[in-house]
């Protein structure tokens, strides 16, 4: 039992590290994160300079063959092994580099195109996606279809070789800066729920696409509502067969669960430091038994997730398939984030209410945590997945199974 690289892994790590050292600035400590070069105002311009920086970094990586490592070289990747991809991620995280923006395209849209697009389309769309030149979003959830994703109602009608799309999507991350999107629609309302879906990709600048930001409880606006009014999509941009959209969606969702990892925000280190500094009844909070007990629980969770990840990486390194253990990651980290944020504010007592340098990260995490517990599979959906797909327990009885979609009861708010 060891944590050591094999000879090949060590060699690859050195190569990665050398390139990164020559092209990026090393972090001085773990929390030393990249900040956009010109953060002029809080939303629009702040985001656009962050976007520019991220695009520049991605293009630089692409230029030296370090983008989308595991993709085939023909599509802009490196044909790297899963372990090499892990090593890249470990090393890149030691540097102050911009992130975000590309995960949905490269992590979800890319694999779907790889499986379902024509060779010509792959050659056209995948390299710019890898380079970060074109950004993609995912148009799945709707006001009436969240956890029950197959309940979507956005309508697709075929006339000749052109589809017309009408409806509304919601929770679309990055729709406002995306060039393309993957979308699942309903092409047959009289077929059972899972049978009448059809999957496409489209140009987000198509006439009839309207993007409206959703302001979240954090005050930020990372998500959007997207409205479709008589939007035209050529049939050549259909992915999978007509009516097979659910199957195609599952490919995407599988990749989404892999892409949504640890929740970012306050973690053990922050609450541990706070408990050492903070006074509690005339003594350091950390000397209080109830505080120590909570700290111990969170440390065990953090450590448990860390070594669960190590077990998975080890499986990759040994050339075997990682087990299903990683399915616990988001549920544990999102809840831990919420509890730590809440307790941190508790420790700071009434002063926690004011927003300042010390409180901001705890406040932000407390407001952000509910969304993380919901996005990419709610706690409840994830528990179902663990029970059904990992432990082999039976699915719930579905009253809407095999019923034509237009006969399924809906609540008034849909």
């Amino acid at each position: 039992m060891d944590f050591n690289d094999t000879i090949e892994e060590a060699k690859f790590r050195e190569e990665v590290s050398n390139w990164l050292s020559a092209n990026a600035e090393k972090k001085e400590h773990a929390k030393d994160i990249y900040r956009p070069s010109e953060m002029s105002s809080e939303n629009e311009s702040g985001e656009s300079s962050a976007l520019k920086d991220a695009k520049d970094w991605m293009a630089k990586k692409y230029g030296s063959g370090w983008a989308c490592l595991h993709w085939p070289k023909d599509y802009g990747g490196r044909d790297a092994t899963p372990m090499e991809r892990v090593i890249w991620g470990q090393e890149e995280s030691k540097f102050k580099v911009p992130g975000g923006f590309f995960e949905i395209g490269q992590g979800m849209a890319g694999p779907v195109l790889m499986s379902y697009a024509t060779e010509e389309q792959k050659k056209r769309y995948l390299p710019p996606m890898a380079k970060g030149e074109e950004i993609w979003c995912q148009l799945f959830s709707e006001p009436g279809a969240g956890s029950d994703l197959a309940g979507i109602k956005t309508k697709a009608e075929l006339d000749g070789d052109t589809w017309t799309i009408n409806g509304q999507k919601v929770w679309t991350s990055g729709a406002h800066y995306s060039d393309y999107g993957i979308i699942v629609t309903r092409s047959d309302f009289s077929a059972p729920k899972h049978k009448g879906l059809t999957y496409f990709f489209l140009d987000m600048k198509s006439p009839g696409v309207e993007v409206r930001p959703i302001k979240q409880i954090t005050g930020g606006a990372n998500f959007n509502e997207v409205y479709f009014t008589d939007v035209k999509i050529p049939d050549s941009q259909r992915l999978g067969e007509v009516g097979d959209g659910w199957k195609v969606s599952l490919t995407t969702l599988m990749n989404e669960r892999l892409a949504v990892g640890d929740a970012s925000g306050v973690d053990f280190q922050e609450i541990f430091e706070l408990a050492k500094e903070q006074d509690f009844n005339g003594d350091a909070a950390i000397s209080n038994g109830s505080v120590r007990e909570k700290l111990a629980d969170w440390y065990c969770e953090q450590s448990g997730l860390k070594y669960t990840k190590m077990r998975n990486i080890s499986a990759l390194s040994q050339g075997s398939t990682p087990g299903p253990e990683a399915s616990i990651t988001k549920i544990v980290s999102a809840n831990k984030l919420q509890e730590i944020a809440n307790f941190g504010m508790d420790l700071m007592d009434n002063a926690s209410i004011a927003r300042d340098e010390d409180t901001a990260i705890f406040q932000g995490s407390l407001l952000g945590a509910p969304l993380i517990r919901i996005a990419g599979g709610t706690d409840e959906v994830l528990r179902n997945i663990i029970a059904e797909q990992v432990l082999g327990m039976p699915q719930d009885i579905r009253v809407d199974k095999n019923v034509p979609f237009n006969e399924i009861p809906t609540g008034s708010k849909n």
Partner: protein, 370 residues
């Protein structure tokens, strides 16, 4: 990178599992629980014959010279089978204590007999209802003779000798080996919460002691950390068995016209058991790495493994009963055997509060918790 047990170690794990399955270790647990027997001598004999008591003992002392990693996989299987044997006392604790000492004479005298299973040892440490602190030990050792009382010593009425913590002439805490058959030792068997594992109060009246160390508080801490990893593996084995019982029962039990395993209330319960178990297992792996490398991270790794494994076994064993409904709370069903064992293992080397406190203390000392 290979953060896993080797193929040989996993093979050994499988062999131990096969033996315990074949011998119906859970049924044997019940037999001991319901009878006046203190442990299952036949099963113990088979474990000895398989060489398991000799695992970590070097060949020069009659052992087979393997390491702690092998002991981890054995512990997990003993936990899965809730085996009614004094393995944790004799192997995790007494054997490791003697292996840790520099007293060559003791090693030569005791290790071969521990390896061959001719003798059984234990650790006698607790004295009051709180876990002993350095200043809380009142059993004393004066001029090589031990006096005082140790309470609820695991396997205290089975073991041939005990490793005893005691205050020395110069007010340090030392570790001593005492022959329990000596007439200066009084042993009182106890009725226990989990009668599949015997416990006894032991009173020493000027009993002759052999010295492992006369300044041993750090050694005691180390011994507890080493054994905490092994206890944690045993707890993980038990927790997984309890989770699987809950799942199997829910798949076969029908109510409201369907398997209760199809209800989210039950699925989410079992998913929570799985989460708790995976966190504990991953922490145990790290504990195993620290233990087998005698790494400076051992105090943190051991406490982390111990705390999360204690939590996992408690949660899995109690929610297993809940999943079974009324039948889970009957004497007839096996659920309570796991529930009892979970509690016993949580108490044996210091309770949850103690280990959580140790964990934070260790993080404060290391000053680099991540």
């Amino acid at each position: 990178m290979n953060f896993n047990f080797s193929e040989d170690q996993l093979l050994m794990k499988e062999e131990v599992k096969k033996l315990l399955d074949k011998e119906n270790s859970v049924k044997r647990n019940r037999n001991v629980l319901e009878s006046d027997e203190k442990f299952d001598k036949e099963l113990w004999g088979q474990l000895v014959q398989m060489g398991l008591t000799a695992t970590t003992i070097p060949e020069e002392y009659g052992g087979i010279g393997m390491g702690f990693l092998e002991l981890c996989v054995i512990a997990e299987e003993l936990g899965r089978g809730i085996a009614p044997v004094p393995f944790s006392s004799s192997v995790y604790l007494a054997t490791t204590a003697i292996l840790n000492t520099s007293n060559e004479e003791l090693k030569k005298d005791y290790l071969p007999k521990l390896a061959s299973g001719d003798i059984i040892g234990t650790l006698a440490h607790s004295e009051k209802t709180t876990f002993p602190s350095e200043s809380g030990i009142s059993v004393s050792c004066k001029s090589g003779k031990i006096s005082g009382k140790k309470i609820a010593v695991p396997d205290g009425d089975i073991a041939n000798f005990a490793i005893v913590s005691a205050k020395t002439d110069n007010d340090k805490i030392g570790l001593f080996l005492v022959d329990l058959s000596s007439k200066e030792v009084e042993i009182n068997s106890l009725e226990t919460f989990d009668p599949s594992r015997s416990h006894a109060d032991i009173t020493f009246n000027n009993a002759e002691a052999k010295e492992l160390s006369n300044d041993a508080w750090e050694n005691i801490e180390k011994l507890l950390n080493q054994s905490a990893v092994l206890f944690a593996f045993e707890q993980v084995g038990g927790a997984e068995a309890a989770m699987n019982q809950a799942k199997e029962y829910a798949m076969g039990r029908y109510a409201f016209g369907r398997a209760i395993a199809s209800f989210q209330a039950i699925k989410h319960k079992v998913a929570d058991m799985y989460i708790s178990l995976q966190l504990a297992r991953s922490n145990c792996y790290y504990g195993a790495w620290a233990l087998s490398n005698d790494a400076p991270e051992l105090p943190t790794a051991a406490a982390t493994a111990r705390v999360s494994a204690t939590k996992a076994f408690y949660e899995c064993s109690k929610e297993n009963i809940q999943t079974h409904g009324g039948m889970g709370a009957t004497w007839e069903f096996d659920c309570h055997l796991f529930y009892r064992r979970a509690r016993l293992l949580s108490s044996n080397i210091g309770s949850q509060g103690i280990w959580k406190d140790k964990l934070i203390t260790s993080l404060e000392k290391s000053n680099s918790p991540s």
